[in-house]
């Protein structure tokens, strides 16, 4: 198969932001996740947990609450006091509206989805009406003494429960007045704490209010009488989040110790109708605070400071024991943060507020499989490019020649020209970028670095010609009539003639760049596209989907290739289909047209189309080199998928030249080392 020199890069010190909120939408089976830097991500749980959309973060927009309302509308609220609605089609913020109550700590949509409730720093609870185009303030409820940290609607929509500091209030929605105030014990294991913060409340249809607080208690209250019914002490630290299932037969709480507890309503004795809440299962999938939990019909979802999103299926709810029943831990974004210049051996790393440019080292030594070669030149950090302003970088790209860098934030587009003179680099920003380029979703340079392709969030694609130090707008492909879906992935053919673009749901569009018109559309597939690439010479478009299927589509012939049909007919190896991270990058070997290189977070693979496909009985991944095997056996067992799991978690992998690969790893230990220390638990003694 071949021997490669691999540049193993571990200096991309990317740390994902901690998860602050998750909101599950039952209707579309999607999960919205907000992070501490204000980023909001949308995961499609039906499409193999693929992160299909994201909204870039903003320094001043710390999200404290996230909820779905009116079916598919997504709202967030944060400490800047604003309520934001997101446009899930165009991937931008529809509008933001100040609630005029200081920082917002909590938000809840009414069971009917027509009203929105926010809890503010000044102790006010504000009710908003959700109109088709905007939200409208309706009125205030009775003001409480301190900030409202948690809110929950009664399923009938007539009452709400609001958790504050040291007390829980129950309001009547009609009158807006508090009908009960339940004071929470500050005492914690005999020691009186300063304050008891109600981190979460849940209102059940039988009138029970469940509260979780900073003293480690899960408490059940009767809202009709305002009395405490039962207390479970679950942690020595704060219990920070609660989520109840739709059937109200189970709920989940997350603690600052990283533990998630599952509570279930079970019969006291067998075949008796009397039921009680019992703490059934503890899960320890997190090392840090579990800031937020969600309860889907079949799974417990949790996220927190340790940046992992954990989806834990409930085995009793899973009908078939298949791979969907496995625990999922999502740590890295399902998009590329790294671009590479093959010619100059440069890597561009994208962080939330800056870009780093590195030049790879070199070696003159050779060796055999597994050797680490002595470096004749180490890798250099060439450039640290900080963005101005509070907005996060959405996307970035380094041109293949290494002399252009382009990146975009929500409001601006930046294009820079790099000049290399011996060891000095000079950066020159191209000014006066047109305004229609802002909030670009994806940027791409052509192989010869003479053209720039930008996908904007309105569904249009812009083409520019790059000249020495300046640019010229060539053409704009408008979105297909009637859609505003933005194109998240772009691929250009090495000869520069074809441009492929894919959105989140519709098919892949292929444009003829020379004639500037739409060439064809690859038929839409049920699962979103995770990676795209066009092969040199043949102009075959290779498409990877989130269900781990791979298609090869011949652009000149406007049809799937024979190989693609063969593999669809035979089906992929079951282990290939069971991988749980999507393929994020596809590339090709310049000299071997039969090879396709692709990788996900835990493996990289070279598909050799000339070899037979593996069936379920063959060994998909063979880490051991063939020793003492005759050539015959080797040839017989050889199959098309050559897999290496040596580099993980793998964020990027590409071919620099025929014999050289670059692999960017981000070890989890390095991420953990940069997180704040978790709550210290004594190892010894009591």
């Amino acid at each position: 198969m071949g021997e490669f020199k691999v540049h193993r890069v571990r200096f991309f010190n990317y740390v994902p932001s901690g998860i602050r909120c998750v909101a599950y939408n039952n209707q579309s089976n999607r999960l919205a996740v907000s992070r501490t830097d204000g980023t909001v991500e949308i995961y499609n749980l039906s499409a193999n947990y693929f992160q299909e959309k994201f909204f870039p973060g903003h320094e001043s927009r710390a999200t404290e609450a996230l909820c779905w309302a009116k079916g598919q509308r997504l709202f967030s609220a944060g400490l800047n006091g604003e309520i934001i609605e997101y446009d899930l089609q165009a991937l931008n913020i529809k509008y933001s509206m100040d609630a005029f109550g200081g920082p917002i700590w909590s938000m809840a949509a009414s069971p009917s989805g027509s009203q929105l409730l926010v809890g503010c720093e000044d102790g006010s609870v504000k009710l908003f009406q959700i109109n088709p185009d905007k939200i409208q303030f309706e009125r205030n409820f009775d003001r409480q003494k301190s900030r409202i940290l948690s809110l929950s609607w009664h399923p009938s929509g007539t009452h709400i429960a609001a958790g504050s500091i040291d007390c829980i209030s129950v309001f009547d929605v009609k009158s807006g007045s508090a009908i009960h105030k339940m004071h929470v014990d500050r005492q914690y294991m005999g020691v009186s704490k300063r304050k008891c913060i109600i981190w979460g409340v849940a209102f059940l249809s039988d009138g029970t209010v469940i509260s979780v607080d900073s003293a480690g208690k899960v408490q059940f209250w009767d809202s009709a009488t305002g009395t405490l019914v039962k207390t479970h002490l679950v942690a020595n630290a704060d219990v920070q989040s609660i989520a109840v299932s739709d059937q109200e037969d189970s709920f989940v709480v997350g603690t600052a110790e990283g533990t998630v507890f599952h509570f279930q309503l079970v019969s006291v004795t067998s075949n008796s109708s009397e039921k009680q809440w019992v703490r059934t299962k503890p899960f320890q999938h997190h090392t840090h605070d579990v800031r937020t939990v969600a309860h889907s019909p079949t799974a417990l979802i949790s996220g927190g400071t340790d940046t992992h999103l954990v989806i834990r299926p409930l085995m009793e709810k899973v009908e078939v024991k298949n791979y969907d029943a496995a625990l999922r831990k999502i740590t890295f974004p399902h998009r590329r943060l790294i671009s590479c210049s093959k010619k100059r051996q440069l890597l561009l790393f994208q962080f939330s507020h800056h870009l780093d440019l590195w030049r790879l080292g070199s070696t003159v030594a050779t060796g055999k499989h597994g050797d680490t070669l002595p470096l004749s030149k180490d890798a250099d950090h060439l450039l640290h490019l900080k963005t101005k302003g509070p907005e996060n970088i959405i996307c970035s790209c380094l041109s293949p020649c290494g002399s252009w860098i382009a990146y975009a934030t929500a409001s601006r587009f930046f294009l820079c020209r790099l000049n290399y003179e011996h060891d000095n680099i000079s950066l020159h920003r191209v000014s006066k970028m047109p305004a229609f380029l802002r909030s670009a979703v994806q940027i791409l340079f052509s192989e010869d670095s003479t053209k720039l392709f930008v996908a904007s969030n309105q569904g249009s694609l812009h083409i520019f010609r790059l000249l020495e130090g300046s640019f010229k707008h060539l053409h704009t492909f408008q979105a297909q009539s009637g859609t505003v879906e933005s194109m998240c992935l772009l691929a250009v053919s090495p000869d520069g003639n074809w441009l492929a673009a894919s959105g989140t749901s519709a098919g892949v569009h292929v444009y003829n760049v020379k004639r500037l018109k739409l060439h064809c559309t690859v038929p839409a597939y049920n699962f979103p596209v995770t990676a795209l690439a066009i092969a040199p010479k043949t102009n075959n478009l290779v498409i990877a989907h989130s269900d781990q299927q791979i298609f090869e589509y011949s652009i000149p012939d406007k049809q799937y290739t024979e190989w693609s049909r063969t593999i669809q007919k035979q089906g992929f190896h079951y282990l290939w289909l069971q991988r749980d991270t999507p393929i994020t990058h596809i590339s090709f070997h310049p000299k071997r047209p039969m090879h396709i290189l692709l990788h996900d977070a835990y493996m990289f693979c070279i598909i050799d189309k000339s070899l037979p496909l593996p069936n379920d009985k063959t060994l998909l991944y063979n880490p051991l080199p063939p020793t003492n095997e005759s050539d015959v056996i080797r040839r017989r067992t050889a199959h098309a998928f050559k897999i290496s799991k040596r580099y993980k978690p793998l964020l990027f992998m590409d071919l620099l030249d025929e014999r050289t690969l670059v692999a960017v790893e981000r070890p989890l230990d390095d991420i953990i080392a940069q997180l704040p220390p978790p709550i210290k638990k004594k190892k010894f003694g009591t």
Partner: protein, 696 residues
């Protein structure tokens, strides 16, 4: 999970099916080819995967085929019998059956049986069996009569048992069924009577059999819709003794089809059976696959046009007549797992699955092993059975009546016999009933104490405290410490009060004296490992002459008592329920127990792994928990006793040193973490490297 695939039909040649359906479907020497004999005059050879006939042969007008055609796997010839006595042999090349080899026999043939690997057998209607070769050599030889008058062969099957052919056939006479097993390496015929049990009115509709180690597992579908299993030994225990042996039927699946229809049964593999018949009296006929291990319906398929009540199973194909057409349903079964078996039940999607499977009912198990659901009827029937036929009473019930009157010795023998029989699903409740029966007699007759029988029952590993609540009380009454020890080891659910009562007795003086005398008796009842354990301790002691704290490390109790106490340490308990009972133990005994526990602790701390030697020693945690419990319960008393003073002092010292260690460990924990970090950094130091990778 068992699955039925899409059915297909075999047509091409119209089948002359009579009202009784087909004569038979038999395998051929080539895979995928089957010989189908209709009830008229025709034999058709089908290739099933192609769904087309390869050949068809008919006998002359006026002749009738009386026995399904089979293939001789050794020669590849086909054999058929027409007009009961005329044997025909032919091959694929022959066209006309009239012109092929013919042999006229002297007696009427019931069936020709052929399986791969051996020569075909001819079973005559009178029960005699001949090999085909021997018969063809001398067709007119005299055929003896094996079965009695009016006995009719109902069903037969031919097996290979460890490379020896064996034949089983079932006969019926006046509603009684008999099984004959003939092996050809010993040419002995064993005859068995099938006991129908309480369902004496039912008629057996269909049989099927499979090999199950040393038994032939004979399954029968009765007209009450239940499937029963009988185990017939392949090797009769007493081959010389040719007298009638009885075989009991046990219920395998309850009410899988409604009776009064033509139902059929076929065993598929060791856990699955296929049943053909209507699941409810009014419903249409169904083919259902049942898992016998989990008693669940795996899949069912409706056959709206009715069947002939015949079912054949070869390889992966189920054959049946659906309407007038021969239908083949491919069947596949993957390894069954509990999840797989239960998964299907949850849905109950199929229209034919309304009959719920019968699970073991834990609550209704106080009855006597019978699974009949109507108690009133059962009593009536039992009375009737007792009055009429003694042998048809279930074995457990027989044993219970023995318990009521016979001597201890006799009970012991009967019990041993009973335990040798195959375990039924409700085995544990039956055992529980027997123990309760024994205890009931103990209560009424003070002199009666069947110690060996009880011991044997406890050692079956199926009892628990709640199944025989009186057992430990009686043992306590009789101060039978071995029994108590055994119970403590075996039962998972002993109440704390009883555990405490045991402990009290083990610590009392009565035990010690008795122990000395009964030593030999004890040894044979599972006492040895514990004793070894303590012997080892003592041996170790003597090997260490430099031991300075000699007086504290000698075991404060004798090995017997130590073994008993260890049993208590192992038993499960809940602190809140145990504490009040511990308060009742006299202070001297508490001190003794504490001394023993302290001794165990010292032994533990001697070894690096903190464990005691021996096979099943108490763990350090158990020892520490009991020390804490005893002190919690009796501290005020123990503090006043002068003998306990030194013990308490040493315990106090021990706790103090533990606290010291923990606080020191806490202090250096930070340093540990730094060391760990350094170690990690060393491993991940390289942020950039160039490596060589070869892909294979």
């Amino acid at each position: 999970m068992a699955a039925l695939e899409e059915e297909f039909t075999l047509s091409g040649v119209p089948l002359g099916t009579g009202p009784d359906g087909l004569l038979g479907v038999e395998q051929c020497d080539k895979t995928d080819q089957f010989l189908i004999t209709d009830s008229g005059r025709t034999v058709i050879l089908y290739k099933v995967s192609d769904q087309k006939p390869l050949g068809s042969w008919s006998v002359k007008q006026g002749q009738v085929i009386t026995c399904p055609a089979v293939c001789n796997f050794q020669t590849g010839e086909y054999i058929v019998v027409h007009d009961s006595k005329v044997l025909r042999l032919w091959t694929n090349e022959d066209v006309n059956l009239d012109k092929v080899f013919k042999a006229t026999l002297s007696a009427e043939v019931y069936r020709i049986l052929s399986i791969p690997g051996t020569e075909p057998l001819v079973l005559f209607k009178e029960g005699a069996v001949r090999g085909l070769e021997a018969l063809l050599a001398e067709p007119q030889q005299k055929i003896e009569t094996v079965i009695s008058d009016e006995e009719v062969i109902k069903w037969t099957k031919f097996f290979m048992v460890f490379r020896h052919p064996a034949l089983i056939f079932i006969t019926e006479k006046h509603g009684n069924y008999f099984a004959y097993v003939q092996k050809f390496n010993s040419s002995v015929v064993s005859k068995y009577t099938l006991l129908l049990g309480q369902e004496e009115k039912s008629v057996i509709q269909s049989f099927t059999a499979s090999l199950c180690r040393k038994f032939i597992s004979l399954m029968s579908l009765s007209s009450d819709g239940c499937i029963y299993e009988s185990l017939i030994p392949i090797h009769p225990s007493d081959p010389e003794n040719n007298q009638l042996q009885r075989v009991v039927r046990s219920l395998l699946l309850k009410t899988v089809v409604s009776g009064n229809a033509r139902n059929a049964l076929s065993v598929l593999d060791q856990d699955h059976v296929a049943v053909l018949g209507p699941p409810l009296p009014a419903s249409k006929e169904c083919l259902s696959i049942w898992n016998t291990k989990f008693q669940t319906l795996q899949i069912s398929k409706e056959l709206p046009q009715g069947t002939s009540g015949q079912l054949w199973y070869y390889g992966e194909h189920l054959f049946m007549l659906h309407g007038k057409i021969l239908t083949v349903i491919p069947y596949k079964c993957e390894m069954s797992s509990l999840a797989g078996a239960l998964g299907k039940l949850k849905h109950g999607q199929d229209p034919g699955t309304q009959t719920m499977p019968h699970f073991v009912n834990w609550e209704a198990s106080q009855g006597l092993g019978s699974q009949n659901s109507e108690p009133s009827k059962r009593i009536l029937r039992r009375r009737k059975i007792e009055a009429s036929v003694q042998p048809e009473v279930p074995a457990s019930q027989q044993l219970l009546s023995t318990i009521k009157k016979d001597s201890e010795k006799h009970i012991e023998i009967e019990l041993r016999k009973f335990l040798a029989i195959k375990r039924t699903p409700d085995f544990h409740t039956v055992i529980g009933d027997i123990v309760i029966g024994l205890l009931g007699r103990c209560k009424t007759e003070p002199s009666f104490y069947p110690r060996n029988s009880l011991m044997q029952l406890v050692q079956m590993h199926v009892l628990s405290y709640s199944l025989c609540p009186g057992l430990m009380e009686v043992a306590l009454e009789k101060t039978d410490v071995e029994m108590l020890q055994l119970c403590l080891q075996q039962f998972p659910d002993i109440p704390e009060a009883v555990t405490c009562a045991c402990l009290k007795m083990f610590l009392s003086d009565a035990v010690q004296e008795e122990k000395m005398e009964e030593q030999t008796g004890i040894l044979q009842n599972g006492f040895n490992p514990e004793e070894d354990n303590c012997d080892n301790c003592d041996k170790e002691l003597s090997e260490k002459p430099q031991n300075t704290i000699e007086e504290t490390t000698s075991c404060p109790v004798i090995p017997k008592r130590a073994a008993l106490l260890n049993a208590v340490l192992h038993s499960a308990y809940s602190e809140t329920f145990l504490l009040p009972h511990l308060k009742d133990i006299p202070a001297q005994h508490i001190t003794l127990f504490l001394q023993y526990l302290y001794f165990l602790y010292l032994k533990c701390s001697e070894s690096a792994t903190m464990t005691l030697p021996g096979i099943h020693p108490p763990t350090l945690n158990q020892i520490m928990d009991w020390i804490c419990l005893l002190l919690d319960a009796n501290f005020t008393v123990v503090v006043m006793i002068p003998e306990a003073k030194s013990l308490l002092l040493s315990l106090y010292k021990f706790v103090k040193s533990q606290i010291c260690i923990c606080s020191e460990l806490n202090k250096i924990e930070v340093s540990f973490r730094e060391l760990q970090k350094l170690n990690q950094e060393k491993n991940n130091r390289e942020l950039y490297s160039i490596e060589v990778l070869e892909l294979f």
